[in-house]
């Protein structure tokens, strides 16, 4: 479910500077920790988001899950690049997404084996199969959208941010519960929420040229 549509395509190219990736990998092969740190700074969030998309349910239950698998991904990346110094990956982001995806599959399988479940039969496995993470470009675009939304949420006034703390109740349309928790009337909450969504759409439109965000309920 992409939040953003650019020129009718949901798999637009990732807008990160990738020109010096081969240079950074050369540095990594030469043992330059700064080069590795730069790559991590650039792609760590994508790695973590890949793990999250592939195993959101597990990630919600285990606070160490993403950190552990992201570490495993980076270790695998460094080992893999070192094993094949002559064959650098064409796209570092796609390569990392693939490693993160495989690491997550292995971890879910280990978990299923450990808990005595059949591989591929657990809820986590089903979740993984549902998650469409075969397209690294789409994943990166989705992450970019969420980062923009995060920035926009941070720009909201304090009162607006307080209202977003009741996000689950509001999206489940439990207006009365949310209003009671916030200590305001239901009608005030409804109007403020409408204003918050309007502000967020405006912010996203400013941040992204061609952002499409319908005002009401929509289709997937």
């Amino acid at each position: 479910m992409p939040l953003e549509v650019r020129d009718g395509s949901t798999t637009a190219a990732v807008k990160v500077p990738v020109s010096d990736d081969p240079f950074l990998i050369e540095g990594l092969l030469g043992g330059d920790a700064a080069a590795l740190r730069k790559l991590m700074e650039r792609y760590d969030r994508l790695v973590r988001f890949t793990v999250f998309r592939a195993s959101a349910r597990r990630a919600a239950h285990d606070p160490q899950w993403i950190d552990s698998l992201a570490s495993e991904t980076w270790t695998g990346f460094v080992d893999s690049v070192r094993r094949n110094p002559g064959a650098q990956p064409a796209s570092v982001s796609a390569y990392l997404v693939r490693i993160a995806r495989n690491v997550t599959i292995s971890a879910l399988r280990r978990l299923a084996r450990h808990s005595g479940q059949e591989v591929g039969g657990s809820a986590d496995q089903a979740e993984f199969l549902e998650a469409k993470i075969d397209n690294p470009g789409e994943l990166a675009v989705r992450l970019e959208d969420l980062e923009k939304l995060r920035d926009c949420l941070a720009e909201l006034p304090a009162a607006g941010r307080e209202i977003t703390s009741q996000l689950h109740a509001i999206t489940e349309r439990r207006w009365r519960d949310a209003a009671a928790a916030l200590g305001i009337s239901e009608s005030t909450l409804r109007s403020r929420w409408k204003k918050i969504l309007l502000d967020l759409r405006g912010c996203l439109a400013r941040k992204t040229r061609g952002f499409v965000a319908p005002a009401g309920p929509d289709s997937d």
Partner: protein
Amino acid sequence: MSNDPNHPDRLERAMLELHAAEEAGVFQPTRLDAERLLRPAEVRVLWPFLWSRRGLAVAAGLALAFGVWGSMFAYKIGHLRDMRVMPVVTAGAGAAGCDDCNFFGCLAGPAVRIAAACSTHDYDLDGDVDLADFRQYQLAHLGSGRVQ
């Protein structure tokens, strides 16, 4: 597709996903030491293992085994050395009637010619001082010889 006003719209669903991602730690940096990651894989794996509880137990076991083996080896070496220097037969050493000679000084092995002074230790009279003579020497001195 949903036109139900009670159904969360796309932006709200994105907010829910963002909230879940934040809760799961997607936006936190991975705690990883780049210098350590660039060490050779063997060092990277072995070092944490050695500092783990299991690694320390293995290291302690190895140290103990090596200590036991070393002690046994040292004891054996020391024992051999003591055997070589300690049993000095002194005057009045009993059946052999030798007053001023050292059996171990004469012990040269089978078929090795001996000096005349050592002939008193050639118990079986075969022209050498070997372990067969040592056996006789022990029998002769057991309980009656004065061994230092």
